[in-house]
């Protein structure tokens, strides 16, 4: 059919352009899942170990809200599916989203798609090729995970079900991204839309796992859990993401047929003929450019704070009903202790997500540089430091705003459900702000890479990924202490509830300052453009 002409060529082009990124993603996600499985195998060798571990999970509200319930405690595979189900689905979704947007809207935005579309290329071909590339990636991911679990000696049905559950989640979000790429006008905005959908799916399943179960059926990530790999293998659930993906893809195709190349859904509105007097400095320009994304992130953080704060009491009640874990609860410091450990886990998660924003807003410098838009600014009477400082205010203070907002909203929600706006309203924002030194350090590492090795700017994302993986998975796979220490998030106090010592916060901030200085010195010395 002519609408699909040249799809195969474009598909090969996409895979060739991703010949480094895609294997890296597949390796990282597979390695995460399998290292979890293999460490569970050594840590919980007997079924009895596994069952008591599962019982302690049931007693920990924060783990339940983050990872969902355990459907099968008798096997390694079951525990792996619990621990990596949600995050595996999120990562598969993220991989597919970035891949689809990279080969559709981002290409269109840069004008390369125009060159391609002028050749004998069908109208649906670029989108189809991107979706096929995502499908290829997701199936490979599923196959690798299945193969790895089989190699770890797990049951065939469960291994296949888990691999397929992750792949199906990936396919679903590939279709979400395909639709987002038609709606948004820039690659950045398309990624933002699809990312918001991913965040919403995560939050919906967190609500479902913490309270009304039906809510997690609204979430594609919830579907990945509901497949219940190793715990019943409900194959029919796999049909949900596939049907959803088909519907979304049909919507994207309908929009492709209707819109102009390069255009989004909303028509361009004219702007002012002259600039406001305040738009006169590089900082004002940076504010203008970074304002929109910050507002979006702020809304997301407020929503996350509301959900997790609102769930806090329920999570603790859930624990309270479990007789077996009464002693565990006592060890954690009673009801307050359980509540605090839940809230501390949430605050820690918020800190990690804030680090994603921080890296993104630092790397805006690189986007401005390579697009050529920095050049006329720097050809004005503007020093490089002043230009960079305008943007760096966002990773520095924007992150504080995000954490404060999420903490305040979570405190409000928690206080409201607990009957009385208690101390959480102060404790939670402060706990959230205590994450800042680690967030700053991550941003500063990205800045150092950008300043010193501009061609390797993407390594800023790799550093972030390593920090987050160590902090997320390190403890559970029992990484050695020195490896855990590599991530700044390891050194944060557990707040609320934990003890605070100033030293780690101070030296994290000092390291961040040193890295930022190195990056800025590099930026001042090197070629720009």
């Amino acid at each position: 059919m002519s609408a699909y002409a040249a799809t195969a060529t474009l598909h090969r082009l996409a895979l060739r352009r991703d010949r480094i990124a895609l294997p890296a993603w597949l390796y990282a996600v597979t390695a995460m899942v399998l290292s979890t499985a293999f460490s569970f195998r050594t840590l919980y060798a007997t079924e009895q170990d596994r069952r008591s571990f599962a019982a302690s999970i049931a007693g920990n509200g924060s783990l339940r809200a983050l990872y969902g319930p355990v459907h099968d405690a008798s096997t390694i595979g079951g525990l792996t599916a619990w621990r990596m189900g949600v995050f595996g689905a999120v990562l598969a979704g993220l991989m597919s989203t970035l891949l689809v947007v990279r080969h559709t809207r981002a290409e269109e935005e840069d004008g390369r798609l125009e060159l391609v579309a002028a050749a004998a290329v069908g109208r649906r071909a670029p989108l189809t090729a991107a979706l096929l590339a995502a499908l290829t990636a997701d199936l490979l991911l599923g196959a690798l995970v299945t193969g790895g679990l089989l190699a770890a000696g797990q049951g065939v049905a469960g291994s296949v079900a888990f691999g397929l559950a992750l792949a199906a989640a990936g396919v679903f979000f590939a279709a979400v991204a395909a639709l987002a790429a038609q709606l948004a006008e820039t690659g950045r905005a398309a990624n933002g839309l699809a990312g918001a959908a991913l965040g919403l799916a995560f939050v919906l399943r967190a609500i479902g796992d913490g309270g009304p179960h039906w809510v997690s059926w609204l979430s594609p990530i919830g579907w990945a859990e509901q497949v219940r790999a190793f715990g019943g293998d409900r194959w029919w659930v796999l049909l949900l993401p596939l049907a959803g993906a088909a519907a979304l893809t049909a919507g994207a195709y309908a929009l492709v047929a209707r819109r102009d190349l390069g255009a989004g859904l909303l028509p361009q509105r004219p702007g002012p003929a002259a600039a406001a007097p305040s738009l006169a400095t590089p900082a004002a320009l940076a504010r203008r450019l970074q304002r929109g994304p910050l507002i979006g992130w702020c809304a997301g953080f407020a929503a996350a704070g509301a959900v997790f704060g609102g769930l806090a009491q329920g999570a603790v009640d859930l624990v309270g009903q479990n007789r077996q874990v009464a002693d565990l609860m006592a060890r954690l410091g009673g009801r307050q202790g359980v509540l605090d450990s839940y809230l501390a886990a949430i605050v820690n998660l918020l800190g990690m997500v804030a680090a994603v924003y921080a890296v993104q807003s630092v790397l805006r410098l690189r986007t401005e540089e390579v697009s050529g838009r920095a050049e006329p600014v720097l050809a004005g009477a503007v020093s490089r430091l002043r230009w960079a400082a305008g943007h760096l205010l966002f990773p520095l203070l924007g992150t504080a705003l995000l954490l404060a907002v999420a903490g305040a909203v979570a405190g409000l929600a928690e206080g409201a459900t607990a009957g009385g706006l208690g101390q959480a309203l102060v404790r939670l924002p402060l706990a959230a702000l205590a994450q800042l030194p680690a967030v700053w350090l991550t941003a500063a590492a990205a800045l150092a890479v950008y300043g010193l090795l501009p061609r390797w700017t993407a390594a800023g994302w790799a550093v972030l990924a390593v920090f987050l993986l160590i902090a997320w998975l390190g403890p559970i796979v029992r990484l050695p202490g020195w490896a855990l220490d590599l991530s700044p998030f390891t050194h944060l106090p557990h707040l609320p509830g934990g003890d605070v010592t100033a030293a780690p916060l101070l030296w994290l901030t000092a390291v961040a300052a040193a890295l930022a200085t190195a990056g800025l010195v590099g930026l001042r010395r090197r070629d720009l453009g």
Binding site: A274, P376, V377, G380
Partner: protein, 300 residues
């Protein structure tokens, strides 16, 4: 201070690429200087060094009496730059971009801004991507010409302009010169260079190969001659690109050999003769050609 730009022995390498290989460039105050060279010869690289965006590996560059790298911010108050490939911010209107760029270098003249918008027929309310290539270029041109800069650095500023707008551009450059500004104009449009430039520098592979007024350059170049002879054409060891078909002959000769050529031809007998001075294209093509041993003897 009579020179606005003084560059000597500039070298810049990118990995294994030697983009600039001992480039010299002198631009006097108040002149419009054409900066020419084939694609990839290093024009934009030179300009980026002059703007303090790139740092030269060796050689010296003096811009308006200052060091383009060290004194970048102060120098930039006195210059305006127009890149060949203008990218705008998609959420800023053209008018906002003009004001911002003007203010970043210390303000622009609102009356002149209005007048230029009118002359360039530019709608300042559109945003980033809604502009066509030529209109994006006009945004940068209005921002540059509306300022009171001593030096205009223009890197292929008209590659997207239509002929009408090209006229407007030319009159803007002339006005800038009349108020005493210096202009460095990199361009591939030869008629534009011929119309505007007092002097030109031609570079090739990162080196300056020629510099001077157009008349001087013309003088250095060969005249084309076509002749219909009575008998067999003679041996012409000094002729370039000689083509002989029967009794017809076509060749190019340097100015100092013109006399010898005519003697040799009349010795055989001439039926018809046309000669013309080098066109601008030929002048540049000769300088742009890759460095290869030129045929000095007649070929058949």
């Amino acid at each position: 201070m009579t020179t606005a730009i003084e560059v000597t022995g500039l070298v810049k390498t990118f990995g294994r690429t030697r983009a600039l290989d001992g480039l010299d460039l002198t631009v006097a105050r108040g002149e419009v200087h054409g900066f020419l060279g084939p694609n990839g010869s290093g024009k934009s690289t030179t300009i980026r060094i002059l703007l303090g965006l790139f740092r030269a590996d060796s050689g010296t560059a003096v811009l308006l009496g200052g060091d383009p790298w060290r004194d970048a911010v102060d120098l930039h108050r006195r210059l305006a730059y127009v890149p060949g490939d203008v990218t705008l911010w998609r959420n800023l209107s053209g008018g906002e971009a003009i004001d911002l760029l003007g203010r970043l270098r210390g303000g622009l003249d609102p009356a002149r801004r209005t007048e230029l918008l009118e002359r360039f027929e530019l709608d300042p309310t559109k945003k980033g991507r809604a502009y066509s290539k030529g209109n994006r270029q006009k945004v940068a041109l209005v921002a540059a010409f509306a300022s009171d800069a001593d030096l205009l650095v223009l890197d292929e500023p008209t590659s997207g302009l239509d002929p009408l707008m090209e006229e407007v551009f030319r009159s803007c450059v002339a006005e800038a010169r009349d108020r005493g500004a210096t202009v460095l104009l990199s361009s591939h449009i030869l008629s534009e260079v011929e119309a505007l430039c007092d002097r030109v520098s031609i570079i090739r592979a990162g080196r300056t190969v020629e510099s001077g007024t157009l008349t001087e350059l013309r003088h250095l170049t060969r005249t084309s001659v076509e002749a219909e002879l009575v008998g067999t054409p003679p041996e012409l060891p000094f002729a370039h690109d000689l083509v002989v078909t029967g009794t017809r002959l076509r060749c190019q000769v340097d100015a100092e050999h013109l006399d010898a050529l005519l003697r040799a031809l009349t010795a055989v007998g001439v039926r018809g003769l046309t000669s013309r001075p080098p066109t601008l294209e030929e002048l540049f093509l000769r300088h742009y050609e890759p460095v290869a041993p030129e045929p000095t003897a007649a070929t058949r």
